[in-house]
């Protein structure tokens, strides 16, 4: 049994809570367990889940990235704009540029945080503002339509009846759980978060590892953006507004602590699922989208408070 991250019991309780939610909603609404709803639910989860998985690693390393939403908006705008040019570049190239957008933002974030020793929260807050602003500038605050086969396929296509976004999410989960829990890289991430000084003295290259994480975070956000683009067929600067809160809530709910060194992919998956099921279930029950913010806020506060009190009790013992 791993001695870092969470004892299985906590992640188990999350999944039990998830089961409870699923049970409640399937009783209160007949549509909840319909194949259509389940697919829709899982697809929505995949959209933000991809970014949440990567954010887990960043939080474990004692960092933070609030720029997810901004990168999503910017990516949709960049891709849609490039596509709507006269004689556009080939789609695969445009998509690569889209991913590159996230990578560049991630690189700048990473550079400010590692080379300039800037605070991650404010840096990524600034990045959020800048990317959002750039999205408005490039699109001139307009929505840009994009009907295109590839993006349509990515977002709406299926392989063996499973929507591709879900497949991407599952792949992300598999890749990153191997990366975090089984690889040397993952071990060094936990080490950096638990005790950066010891990690440095053990010869771990802290700056380059952190840089990689922030770049990955940017790319993950871009992937989410491309999925969103395909789903909505439009690139607009407002895309991704509020996603950062959703993603952070999911990760913290899953047990990762801002103080670093704690958290698991499974926990984040549980967090993402709980949030997704909660939102989906409430929406079906007639609760409007904007009201979900209340639950999000409460969930975040309650989760963090619970973990905080729990840790304090453990230390006191």
């Amino acid at each position: 049994m791993k001695s870092i991250g969470f004892k299985l019991s906590t992640t188990s309780s999350l999944f039990i809570f998830l089961g409870f939610l699923i049970a409640v909603f399937s009783i209160t609404s007949e549509h909840f367990l319909s194949p259509y709803n389940i697919t829709s639910l899982l697809t929505n989860i995949s959209y933000s889940g991809i970014a949440a998985i990567v954010l887990t690693l960043i939080i474990i390393s004692r960092g933070l990235d609030i720029s997810v939403g901004g990168v999503i908006g910017l990516t949709t705008v960049v891709v849609a704009t490039l596509y709507s040019q006269n004689d556009p570049l080939p789609t695969w190239l445009i998509l690569i540029i889209g991913l590159g957008t996230g990578a560049i933002v991630g690189f700048i974030n990473g550079w400010c945080i590692t080379a300039l020793d800037m605070d991650p929260i404010i840096t990524t807050l600034g990045a959020m503002a800048i990317t959002r602003g750039l999205a408005y500038v490039i699109s001139d605050s307009q929505s840009i339509l994009m009907f295109e086969d590839t993006t349509d396929y990515i977002s709406n296509g299926t392989i063996f009846y499973i929507p591709i976004p879900i497949i991407i999410f599952i792949l992300t989960v598999i890749i990153f759980s191997v990366l975090l829990h089984k690889s040397k890289f993952g071990r060094s991430i936990y080490a950096i978060g638990a005790n950066e000084l010891s990690a440095e003295f053990s010869g771990i290259a802290i700056k380059s590892k952190k840089m990689i994480l922030y770049i990955l975070s940017g790319v993950a956000a871009s992937i989410s953006g491309i999925i969103l683009l395909g789903q909505t067929s439009v690139g607009m600067p407002q895309h991704g507004l509020g996603t950062e809160l959703e993603v952070i809530t999911a990760v913290l709910l899953g047990g990762a602590a801002l103080s670093g060194g704690k958290g698991t992919i499974y926990g984040t998956v549980a967090g993402v699922l709980i949030l997704g099921v909660l939102f989906n279930g409430l929406t079906i029950s007639g609760v409007r989208y904007v009201h979900l913010q209340i639950f999000q806020g409460i969930l975040l506060l309650v989760a963090v408070a619970t973990y905080e009190i729990k840790t304090r009790n453990e230390v006191a013992r």
């Binding site: 300039l116 500038v137 009201h291 979900l292 209340i294």
Partner: protein, 337 residues
């Protein structure tokens, strides 16, 4: 450490630098665009500022004590719809409306303060949570509570709260300017010249030392959060009166600009340092940029959305400079062991 570097970090000369920057900006926009430098435009700029300025004042209290409060925009939002509700449905007179709103704002501030001080959750996560919570509450009340009526207020008595001019009928001194002067003035007195105000600075400067000196750190922080909430509510009321409108989305995207203005204004994010003069000039700078960019767009092809980018860049630069200075200090602090 070089003397000039030390003074760069600790001095208040930033106010002077900001004032110069403001002047340069005004000069720039006046030269580049035809209508910028006009009385009309001046009032236009001033008109857009009050709610922002009041929120910035509120945030300053929290930042001075070493924390961050991201929920102020949401507090403003819930106040906006409550103000409309109190007026239209409950028929409150203005003074009662004002009192109730400010009280509720203070209550939300207290919520933030209690979670941060008693439960001990990081202020950023806490206020991120309450930001969502309160905004969600706002939408819920606005849309689902039967009795609620949001939207327009046309009663001149109410609107005068935000649109009145001294002397009556003229276009000389807007009442909002008076609010800003009074609130900032009182805050200045409070923060710089009262015992409690100096305790706020002490806690922000070095929390442990402040505690050793017998200062009740929890209480000081709680008060700051309450003031921030109350001020945000006041700002909400002013905004509703100005716009004649109170909707669930009011104030939704303000917080970033508020943080930028406070940071730009020289208030140290780690706490214990900052002057109100800097904050108000920073607010003016951002207002001038916003206004100027609109004019600039009419004359050139530059999209005025660059201002959004500019805001983010300013924030990053301000923090970046501070961090560079900070690490520069750390390198110098070597001791023989």
């Amino acid at each position: 450490m070089k003397a000039w570097l030390k003074s760069l970090i600790y001095s208040d000369d930033i106010v002077g630098a900001l004032a110069i920057f403001l002047f340069v900006l005004v000069l720039f926009f006046s030269l580049m665009t035809p209508h910028f430098l006009s009385m009309n435009n001046f009032y236009s700029i001033i008109g857009n500022i009050p709610a922002m300025a009041i929120l910035c004042l509120g945030l300053t209290y929290v930042v001075l004590v070493g924390d961050l409060d991201l929920s102020l925009g949401s507090i403003l939002g819930i106040t906006a719809i409550l103000a409309v509700f109190f007026f239209k449905v409950m028929g409150f007179p203005l003074w009662l409306n004002l009192l109730s709103c400010v009280f509720i704002g203070g209550l939300f501030g207290a919520l933030n303060g209690i979670i941060v001080t008693k439960i001990g959750i990081n202020s950023i996560i806490t206020t991120l949570g309450t930001m969502a919570l309160i905004r969600g509450l706002t939408y819920w009340i606005a849309m689902d509570v039967e009795a609620m009526q949001v939207g327009r207020i046309t009663d001149p008595a109410f609107l005068n709260f935000g649109r009145y001019y001294f002397p009556e009928g003229s276009r000389l001194i807007p009442i909002t300017l008076v609010y800003i002067v009074i609130l900032y003035g009182l805050s200045y007195l409070f923060l710089s010249h009262t015992s409690f105000g100096r305790k706020i600075y002490a806690v922000g400067s070095n929390e442990a030392t402040a505690r050793l000196a017998g200062i009740n750190v929890k209480r000081v922080k709680l008060v700051c959060y309450i003031i921030a909430g109350a001020l945000s509510a006041f700002g909400g009321l002013v905004l509703v009166a100005q716009l004649g409108l109170g909707e669930a989305y009011t104030g939704q995207n303000m917080i970033l600009e508020v943080v930028t203005a406070v940071v730009l204004g020289g208030v140290l994010l780690t706490g214990g340092k900052g002057s109100l003069a800097g904050v108000i000039i920073a607010v003016l700078i951002l207002g001038v940029i916003r206004n100027g960019m609109v004019h600039l767009e009419q004359v050139t092809d530059i999209s005025f959305y660059w201002r959004e980018v500019a805001k983010g860049v300013i924030l990053l630069l301000a923090i970046g400079l501070y961090s560079v200075r900070k690490s520069f200090n750390a390198k110098r602090l070597r001791t023989r062991q």
